[in-house]
Symmetry: C2
Subunit: 657 residues, 2 copies
């Protein structure tokens, strides 16, 4: 069967801004509902009916139905005050429609209400979750036989879990040394420089700098040295999990004379605010969150990362993990992960320093689908560019993707863990976060009742299916797994499915970016931030009469107020959102923006403090924007027009005040 | 309008074991779907259609629809291997059907896909979540103007959040003392004994034993002493959130000469395994989880709790929190929370010891609805008993509820925090956990960007609606809030709604309990555990020929294997589940069980180690069990018959082996 272009399929993937595919969706939902009902009716038909027709004739039944119907109608009326994420006019946060497959899959499984905490409560959907985890790991380029992944309620829990796992891996060698001594066994470990040594020879600094892979080898080795109960007991006397930080630090001090400063977590300065929550909750402390400056593209600056590592090493501060971002929530910026990885390698060989490398790809992870062709191979930047097919003038000499972009995505295969939210660029209903690990052994270190898995027990084994044992959450909706699973079946994670979908959003973003650059908004001037790595377009407006950043901020806040649902009763023609660039997080990116504004230097901006700079943002998750709406208005032009109009009104209001 | 009996309404609350209410459910779902579709079509109709009818005639479109339909049919076929939670024959885990209101509410809101992280992404459902939080707080008996609650993805995250909040409250006085010194301000605080003192006069032990209410007053006081930025900066130099445990402990040692031992968390020995995950993740360490023995009813023993507190105080070990359980997941046992509270009061006045008191009511929380009448007043035990209306012989001289049971539920009003899972006894689809706090000020202590709320800004204020700021999770489904909200509208949280529903499950459980007691299973003997506090019936079978617990365990495992879906392809007539009582967790409850078995003493059992004792369990969440199925088999009798048959088969298999 010859293949058909994915652009045709795209029209069947979503309900559509006008509910164009309403019949399709209703047919599938009704099918799922009736299929479920007749499953019930076919389950021991001899049991007869519990609720009889006569019971339905009673006044109390009728009243309950009336209450239910009335309250539902009330809810439906309320819901209409919701956000029209589906509309071509919505270009605000990272939400759009969900795929029909995801909606129907969620609904179909929800009727069965499986709980993926354990196979006993979800014989079907736990398997779907394991399958989905493997698909996401594949998309990262992980080796299937080593990798492992699962769903979470969202990005915060997924990122939390990454750091929780990382802590257990990085601190394992310290516990293993204590355990080995207690057990009176010899244990050999790979040092940061690749040489092998008896674990007793490593000092605290070296123990905290064992490479994550070597730490997992050590874990496996340890269980071979003595009976399980004895190993467990010995480990419990030295592990952070059991001791807690307070006793752990004391024990290190007693043993090594000095506990060293607390381990730190490196993160790009533009990282999501949840990272602060996470390090606080884990007991690491927000002071240990070290912000690495970003460059003018909002990416972690690899040079600055190297300097940070060197400086920390000089002060003997151990590094627990480095968090690289693949798709910042504000700008869709993607770190040059290949360069970040190179810094880690260099640190290992030149400084003897190792740490866990995590990619927070909650937003951008699905974009890896763009790099895969239908045969399971990688696509080159040129191949992708050919299928995005942007006109040269839209590319503005900076075609997407660059070979460097492709390299960053390919580098995900070498991260120790990656978090990816299906409920963002996977177009899945909330809640669906996910985490994948390069090395599945890591999960044993957090398991409450460790099954001491040996590598012979593979994916899909019985142990594999009691998810609640390995992950932070317990009860969780099997429906989410069915939703992601069905969507991945309909939209493969390559150029035919998600790859095409995400390409279209990038195309839409670049067309909008170009239009904003071309727009004549006089007397206003529109300043674009650099072209996005993915599909979030950032810009701001200014006016030749402005003398201060306060005026610029007031103008852009005024535009935002008119182009958002932030005010009750607002009926904006087009919807965007805004963010605020603050010091010191954005210091590295401000120079060209301020130069373009012509309103002072970076130092001057820094002195301004928390006010920062208000930036307008448009997330283009709408794959139809690039194609235009054949029978209706051009939403790109409409958006530009609306910005002009909102700016005019905002300026008048400013002058009155 | 005169009121109708809730038993009539019950027939309209669920789809029904035979899909009896299929028409009702389909009508409402279709209404919600079409209502949503026409909302889309009425949004800027001038925009025209993005997907045109001709686009649907293309081959690629057609193929995509074919793929979607085919894969959905495959999923539907798979789902039929799921667990028939809806059936009168399922009496295993704590799952049943969900209310129609919950299913329809979830579905209706899911089409809009709101994200309750912030009001901007969920103008409707964030408000519903705030309302639901207030309803749950009301059900606990909390003062509405002080309380606060919200939804979570489940019980683990909710319990985690409780302890995370508790840590910040309990450690606040230490940070406040440091901050006050740095700011050069005087700060007065209430000591454990009720007297007031300048905070500088309190030593570390006293600071860690300030009552949670007094700690929150202190927080509020602190912000009044100096400008916000200064207070924040001073606090950051001393707070655990910022310092992390390792530096925090060092700082305490420098300052007070001794950091004291790490703070501990007290929990009933039968607590859910997630508590161990939680203390590990928080960096508290599992060694700091102190298990308080249970009594023969699986409830935390208040005497033992008191002795534990005294003993810890003698060793100068600070107590962070005490976790009381309202509805253990294995036995539905409910701590005598009134007595646990009395221990806390006594500790405060006699020992000068204070700690956070949390009730893990993830399972049992909704049972508080039983204690409320339709006028917002409390019902007495006698009133409730009259509406449960069990025959005296079923009561077996132990009517439900006892006045003590009612007192335990009323005592929830005095717990500092309570976690309640709507996706358990709320009959809501996953995911829906919840947490409520007696004092909403606590949330400011964990907020990433603290808004320094003054009490004048009440519930529903703008600050209130950015949930992601105060809670651990970020993105989360607004659909869950709509689901809980609609279900609460149809089933009020009192005798008319959830109260009635839960009463029926208790009635069913007691009828099953009675039948198991009366059953003639010769040659087997069925030993019942004490009558449940709620609706989980536990028992085990033995045989006169057995000489060891291993034989007893093998028999009960054999019964479980035949009455569960644990083996692939199993088609059990009735479904139950099992648990394993292990030492030392269950030591306090074993004596009567072992005496009844006649197979050795508790000491002997302890020596048996991890094997423990296999216990069969039936959770009765089915409100129809007590009424019987008029046209079909008696499921109580059927269950007893099936146990007899499974036991016979299991014994034969044992003898062959």
């Amino acid at each position: 069967m010859p293949s058909t272009p994915p652009s045709d399929a795209l029209n069947a993937w979503f309900l559509g801004p006008r509910g164009e595919n309403a019949e399709l969706l209703e047919r599938l939902l009704t099918e799922a509902l009736r299929d479920h009902i007749f499953w019930r009716r076919n389950h021991h038909p001899e049991d007869g009916f519990t609720i009889r027709e006569l019971d339905k004739r009673r006044e109390g039944y009728d009243r309950a139905v009336a209450t239910l119907t009335q309250e539902l109608l009330g809810l439906l009326a309320e819901l209409k005050r919701g956000v029209p994420f589906f509309s071509g006019r919505y270009k605000g946060h990272m939400v759009f429609e969900q795929t029909i497959a995801a909606q129907v899959g969620y609904f179909a499984a929800m009727l069965y209400n499986p709980n993926n905490v354990a196979i006993e409560a979800s014989p079907v959907t736990t398997r779907l979750e394991v399958e989905v985890g493997a698909q996401l790991a594949d998309m990262m380029g992980y080796a299937p036989e080593r990798a492992w992944g699962h769903l979470t309620s969202g990005g915060t829990v997924a990122n939390f879990e990454a750091l929780w796992f990382a802590r257990n891996v990085i601190y394992l060698p310290v516990a293993a040394r204590g355990a080995a001594e207690e057990l009176g066994v010899r244990l050999s470990v790979e040092r940061a420089d690749g040489s092998r040594a008896d674990i007793g020879e490593l000092d605290l600094w070296e123990l905290l700098n064992v490479h994550p892979d070597a730490a997992l080898d050590l874990w496996q080795e340890l269980w071979r040295t003595a009976p399980r109960d004895e190993v467990q007991k010995a480990l419990d006397s030295y592990s952070l999990q059991a001791l807690g930080y307070q006793d752990y630090a004391r024990k290190l001090e007693e043993r090594f004379g000095d506990a060293l400063p607390p381990s730190v977590v490196l993160v790009a300065s533009t990282a999501h605010y949840s990272w602060e929550k996470i390090v606080r909750a884990l007991g690491i402390g927000s002071n240990q969150l070290i912000f690495v400056p970003v460059d003018t593209r909002f990416r972690m600056d690899p040079e600055a990362l190297w300097r940070t590592v060197v400086e920390l090493t000089e002060r003997r501060v151990p590094i627990l993990a480095c968090i690289s971002v693949c798709g910042t929530t504000e700008e869709s910026a993607m770190d040059r992960l290949d360069e970040v990885l190179a810094v880690r390698e260099r640190a290992r060989w030149e400084l003897g320093v190792s740490f866990h490398l995590h990619s927070d790809a909650c937003y951008g992870g699905y974009a890896a689908s763009v790099t895969w062709n239908r045969d399971g191979g990688r696509r080159t930047a040129d191949e992708i560019r050919a299928s995005v097919a942007l006109a040269p003038e839209v590319e503005e000499g900076k075609p997407w993707p660059s070979p460097e972009w492709v390299r960053s995505m390919e580098a995900l295969a070498q991260a120790d863990s990656v978090t990816i939210d299906p409920h963002k660029l996977g177009y899945i209903p909330y809640p669906a976060g996910a985490i994948v690990f390069r090395d599945r052994r890591a999960r044993e270190l957090v398991s409450v009742d460790p099954p001491y898995l040996l590598p012979t027990q593979g994916l899909g084994s019985a142990e594999d299916l009691f998810l609640g044992r390995y992950i932070f959450e317990g009860s969780k909706p099997g429906a989410a797994a069915a939703s992601v699973w069905l969507s991945h079946k309909v939209l493969p994670l390559d150029e035919r499915g998600y790859g095409h979908l995400i390409e279209r959003t990038v195309a839409g973003a670049r067309i909008l970016y170009r239009a904003l650059g071309q727009a004549d908004l006089r007397p206003f001037r529109l300043i674009r931030l650099p072209e996005p790595d993915l599909n979030i377009v950032c810009f701001l407006l200014t006016h030749p009469g402005f003398r201060t950043l306060d005026e610029v901020n007031a103008l852009n806040e005024g535009i935002y107020a008119r182009m958002s649902l932030s005010e009750p009763g607002a009926q904006p023609q087009y919807i965007l959102t805004r963010t605020r660039f603050q010091t010191p997080m954005y210091d590295g990116a401000m120079e060209p923006i301020l130069a373009d504004l012509g309103l002072g230097s970076v130092d001057h901006w820094k002195a301004g403090g928390k006010e920062g700079l208000v930036i307008l943002r448009s997330t283009v998750m709408d794959p139809f924007l690039a194609g235009g709406s054949p029978d209706g208005p051009d939403h790109v032009a409409g958006m530009v027009q609306e910005i002009r109009s909102a700016a005019g009104q905002a300026l008048r209001e400013l002058r009155v005040v």
